[in-house]
Amino acid sequence: MSRVIAGVLFLVAVFMLLGTACGGGGKGRQVAIAQTDEGCTPQTVQAARGEKLTFKIQNQGKKDHEFEGVNGAKVPEVEVPAGRTRSVDYTAPKQNGTQQIKCYIPNGSTTMISVTVGG
């Protein structure tokens, strides 16, 4: 019985190491995003091809906000509770183009933020 428990604990430790080793994430150029109950600003962001950005999202409103990449933009989804700040790392694609981030309050205001890559 104790050997089974030791085995399970060992596996958990191995996976914890694997889980953290793959992560990290370098901090990119900081881009401040402000959220209010009316919407998000700015609505356009410039990025170089392949540039690493870190969105610093500050929710100044009274309602919880969602922030996520849409239509293939690789911005992980994050919930920003009212009055809190969250950071999200993002790497711009290697081609010129426009990517979209949806910044919204569920059942409330929605702002589409366009990230212009290159150009």
């Binding site: 019985m1 089974v4 428990i5 399970v8 596996l11 958990v12 996976f15 914890m16 694997l18 889980g19 953290t20 793959c22 992560g23 990290g24 994430g25 919880d64 969602e66 996520e68 849409v70 992980p76 994050v78 919930e79 509770p81 809190r84 700040t85 969250r86 950071s87 999200v88 790392d89 949806k102 919204y104 569920p106 059942n107 409330g108």
Partner: protein
Amino acid sequence: MLFSFLVTLREGVEIALVITILLGYLRSTGQRRHFREIWLGAGVAAAVCLAVGAGLELASRELDSQLVEGFEGFTMLFAVALLTAMAFWMKRQASGISSELRAHVDQALGAGSMATLVLLAASSVGREGLETTLFLFAGSATAGAGLSFVIGGLLGFVLAAFIGVGLYHGSSRMPLKPFFTISGVVVIVLAAGLVSNGVAHLHESGLLSNIGVRPWDTDALIASTSTLGQFLNTLLGYDSAPALSQIVLYWLYLLGVAAAFLWLPAAARPPQRAVQPAISSPGRS
């Protein structure tokens, strides 16, 4: 990765156990020629589960992102209900499952219907398989990394298959009772995380507008967007600023269900139904 590994290991051993009992019984009664039907049934079950999984995945991709949140939220809470029921069921049946399956095999063979045998294998394996499908889908809704989730799941199944082969040949010294007790507790811990995540997803979908104040914020310590934060989120339901309802429901579920699982005596099983003899003998009149 650990999430999918733990799920497929536990469920995989359950599936292996069912198949082992079926094959072992046929072997001991000299009916190896019916192995085919068992494998056919297991194959049918696997195909159905894969189709259901693909359907869930496609459905969640087609929907608008806000609807997806709601869909995932409901799936998570449904998975919690099902998993809890199954953990208790497994505890109760652990001793009786073998004799029950053997009785069903006798019935199928007695009726001379091979289709019934295929159906028996398909439904016994399929029940575990669908549980796995739902559990994995609910977990993948929060998991950050795609590939490692798949690898973890495959590793769990491979290990379960080895255990199954060992069980069949009688060489495995696997202590089944402690395995199902420990993995049952693991399932309850994972399900508690799904309770918290399910509430968060319903909130994000706009279905639950107010889920309470958020008493603390540990995002500076472990950011919810970091790899560690996502790992802990999938495994334990970590939220850097959980709302009061998430906290309360998480601990109520975890402590209540774990205590019931560990300390409540297994309920008495319903009386076994009389098994029809394979060959009917002329009755005394």
